[in-house]
Symmetry: C2
């Protein structure tokens, strides 16, 4: 069976960078954008449209999550979104069977629960996340801090909602993860070898 690491993360915390570097350090496959590319290939849909459906449009999905047991009950969600989310879930499970890998986001921790992945949660304080978002923003993005913070919260809320449809454990609740990493005041690159070693030590005692 392949070894899997899932990285859940607050928007702007550097979880993607951490996941990618960790995969590199361990020689594991890394899946994030690759999933969207594969979905585009499979569906013939545009990557931009898929992104919007998978990331942005979950923000717009508002439904009584505590009453919804499965996608099929989410009658208020557009059919296309449900279809794409369903295809994504299938794809994530297929990729997870192919070999050792790291998944960032996409509720992979919940989707792959039965494969017993090593689950990381990456977070940071607001100032730190804001600075990271600022450093990556293009010149055209003239958001105020207030707007950026609102956007960050909106995305995290959407991630939590999507995650909590699938999982019985709340997104970001420490008990759902093996290790929760605060990237505030830490250089991600510098802690990767230690995180890889921590993971190896953990893996070593698994049955």
């Amino acid at each position: 069976m392949s070894n899997i690491i899932t990285v859940s993360r607050e928007f702007g915390s550097g979880g993607r960078e951490l996941g990618k570097r960790l995969a590199g350090e361990l020689g594991y496959a890394y899946y994030d954008r690759e999933i969207v590319t594969a979905l585009a290939k499979e569906t013939g849909m545009d990557e931009g449209f898929l992104d919007q459906q998978l990331e942005a449009s979950t923000v717009q999905i508002r439904f009584p999550i505590h009453f919804a047991q499965s996608f099929s009950e989410l009658t208020t969600v557009p059919d296309t979104t449900v279809h794409i989310l369903s295809l994504q879930s299938k794809l994530i499970k297929e990729l997870a069977s192919k070999g050792d890998c790291v998944f960032v986001g996409r509720a992979a921790d919940a989707l792959l629960e039965e494969k017993k992945p090593f689950k990381l949660f990456v977070y940071a304080d607001q100032a730190s996340k804001l600075a990271r978002c600022r450093s990556r923003a293009t010149d055209e993005e003239n958001f105020t801090d207030k707007e950026m913070i609102r956007q960050m919260k909106r995305i995290d809320k959407a991630r939590a909602e999507y995650h909590d449809i699938i999982s019985s454990r709340a997104w970001g609740e420490r008990t759902a993860y093996h290790l929760c990493v605060n990237t505030t005041g830490t250089e991600i690159k510098a802690v990767i070898p230690a995180l890889a070693d921590y993971y190896r030590a953990w893996l070593n005692v698994q049955g």
Copy 2:
């Protein structure tokens, strides 16, 4: 200035073992029981009595923590307890100035906030904590699982309450820590070198 690590932990999660081993790995002083011994020396009080005051009796302290700003306002708390807690705080601050060290519990993370310690939170799932408590229980301790779970929760609640008198951040809330370690299904001894490396990488980028 000395380098400080604080270990906050759920009862039964192995936080004490982790803190002690981490101190050993780094060659740092380790403070836990040592604090009680020093307090006993200073006050002439019995260690057992002090333990009761510091650990057990915080459980019995019930007061409106959200309105209490300092110990002096806690008029419902017995004078002796306040006196001992105050001495303990003073002692922790003194020890922290003496050299590199690891503190386990005693709200040291909050008490030493201005010294910018590296803050760990150690937790585990209930079954794992129960197993750890069972393995350490003496023959005389014939608790049922239900009783042990109640006791574990009682102690964690007391720790949280004591911590939250001093800190503006809630005990166990991930944002208050640099790293949150789930010891469920992990051998503590095996992850110590990785944790020490993580800490060293973090320390390296501090001002």
